[in-house]
């Protein structure tokens, strides 16, 4: 059932490309750069965040006032806030597009589970950072979601009240809270770049920037949205210390769990989210096709033919997953190639996705896929040529 659904989703996802490729040249299709789009929005968030940080005051009285000062008094301050807000929305949209596209097009299987797992962490932390961003403004909405968040924390088994005390910096909401939230917001954002290292480490030439037309168009779009009267970011009423606000405008990108609290207890929402995320981690280990069904796609991990390798490094440069390393070739071998080389190619099985690109790169017949050898290819050619041209 899951497999059938996934195959259907694969076809539909690729169907979208047919329509987009009619407008945009294929190598500018934004869906081929969903990772790059996420990275681009993250970059805009970091730059605009640094500029916002210069104006922010992290105290219960000062936070709202500093944000209001930035919005009303500073030239382009409102635009800056809007850019930060819409880049965050764009980030979540791009990350979800990236998740779904890579899930539905089988780009997480076997040795590609590293980017998937690190990507799940990136998703969780990205969402968390967004929630913190809403809390920093310290308006009524911020106060409301902070109270709900504290309830969710309290529901954590065994460590709940300790976590709450750690988060609040004391028994209740005090001036110790906002500096902590600021640290969670900015520190976690910096930590994202360490996770991104993990996300990129097995990928050669990661596409971290989308095509120029998309950088310009999206930056223009979020700037425009920040300026238009209908979509300009505003803050609600300042938070009152004793009040417990209940109604506030929702942001569908980051605050959906808080919306669900209307019907479910906070603990249930937190538990449900946790289950959903754990399921996400399992995805790389459930394939939509069994191994025999994959046919040529699963022809075995690339094997180096030691006697033929001359250490030319062409396979090393071509492997898209950094799965080949060149090691010093210490002992002179029996063949001419082995006697004269300085380096030897070694395939790291844990990183090889069995694509065969290294086979195509090697001019010395020193690489083979175990189930699709050069002999097999040549035999197919002979058969094809020997066949009569008509049925």
């Amino acid at each position: 059932m899951y497999r059938w659904a996934l195959s259907w989703l694969l076809r539909q996802t690729v169907k979208l490309d047919v329509y987009i490729n009619r407008v945009y040249p294929a190598d500018w299709n934004p869906l081929y750069y969903t990772g790059g789009l996420s990275h681009f929005f993250l970059f805009v968030l970091v730059i605009s965040g640094i500029l916002l940080f210069f104006y922010y005051v992290a105290s219960l009285d000062g936070a709202y006032a500093s944000v209001a000062y930035l919005t009303d008094q500073v030239p382009y301050g409102a635009i800056l806030r809007g850019i930060h807000r819409y880049a965050a929305d764009g980030f979540i949209i791009a990350v979800l597009l990236h998740l779904f596209r890579n899930w539905f097009t089988d780009r997480y299987l076997f040795a590609r589970d590293g980017p998937w797992i690190s990507g799940m962490f990136l998703l969780i932390l990205g969402g968390f950072i967004g929630i913190n961003g809403y809390q920093l403004v310290w308006d009524q909405r911020a106060q409301a979601i902070t109270l709900v968040f504290v309830e969710m924390l309290r529901a954590v088994p065994a460590a709940g009240s300790a976590l709450v005390r750690l988060f609040l910096g004391g028994a209740g909401i005090s001036d110790a809270l906002l500096p902590r939230i600021l640290f969670l917001h900015v520190g976690t954002a910096s930590f994202l770049y360490i996770l991104l290292w993990w996300h990129y480490v097995r990928v050669r030439h990661p596409k971290v920037w989308p095509p120029a037309t998309w950088v310009l168009t999206l930056l223009g779009l979020i700037t425009l949205l920040a300026a238009l009267p209908g979509t300009r970011p505003t803050a609600g009423v300042a938070a009152q210390p004793a009040a417990t606000p209940t109604a506030y405008p929702l942001d569908v990108f980051f605050l959906l769990p808080f919306w669900l609290v209307n019907w479910l207890p906070a603990a249930a929402v937190a538990g449900g989210l946790t289950v959903l995320l754990l399921l996400g981690y399992v995805i790389p280990y459930i394939r939509r096709e069994s191994v025999p069904q994959m046919g040529v796609r699963h022809a075995g991990v690339a094997q180096v033919i030691d006697g033929n390798c001359t250490g030319c490094e062409l396979c090393y440069y071509d492997c898209p997953y950094n799965a080949i390393v060149m090691v010093p070739s210490l002992h002179p071998g029996a063949t001419k190639a082995a006697a004269n080389r300085k380096l030897l190619a070694v395939v790291m099985d844990s990183r090889c996705v069995e694509c065969g690109i290294c086979i195509g790169a090697c001019p010395f017949e020193a690489l083979e896929l175990p189930k699709f050898l050069e002999a097999d290819v040549l035999r197919r050619i002979e058969q094809a040529v020997a066949q009569p041209a008509t049925a």
Partner: protein, 68 residues
């Protein structure tokens, strides 16, 4: 799309960008910074479209041959 139409569109977009740049200056003179921000957004979107049209014309892009 024919070549003259594309060229006309590029020139029109470039002219619009120039006008929007003037709007930015106007906004700064009047302390209406939202106006300037919107104009900046418009300029960037216009540039994005210009780049796409240049690609369609074949002036930028890889080898010209494969890009549709």
């Amino acid at each position: 799309m024919g070549r003259p139409v594309l060229l006309l569109a590029i020139v029109a977009l470039a002219g619009a960008s120039l006008l929007l740049a003037a709007v930015i200056v106007l906004g700064e003179l009047r302390d209406a910074y939202a106006l300037g921000g919107g104009a900046l957004g418009g300029i960037l979107i216009a540039y994005g479209l210009i780049v796409l049209l240049l690609r369609r014309l074949g002036l930028i892009g890889p080898r010209g041959a494969e890009g549709k």
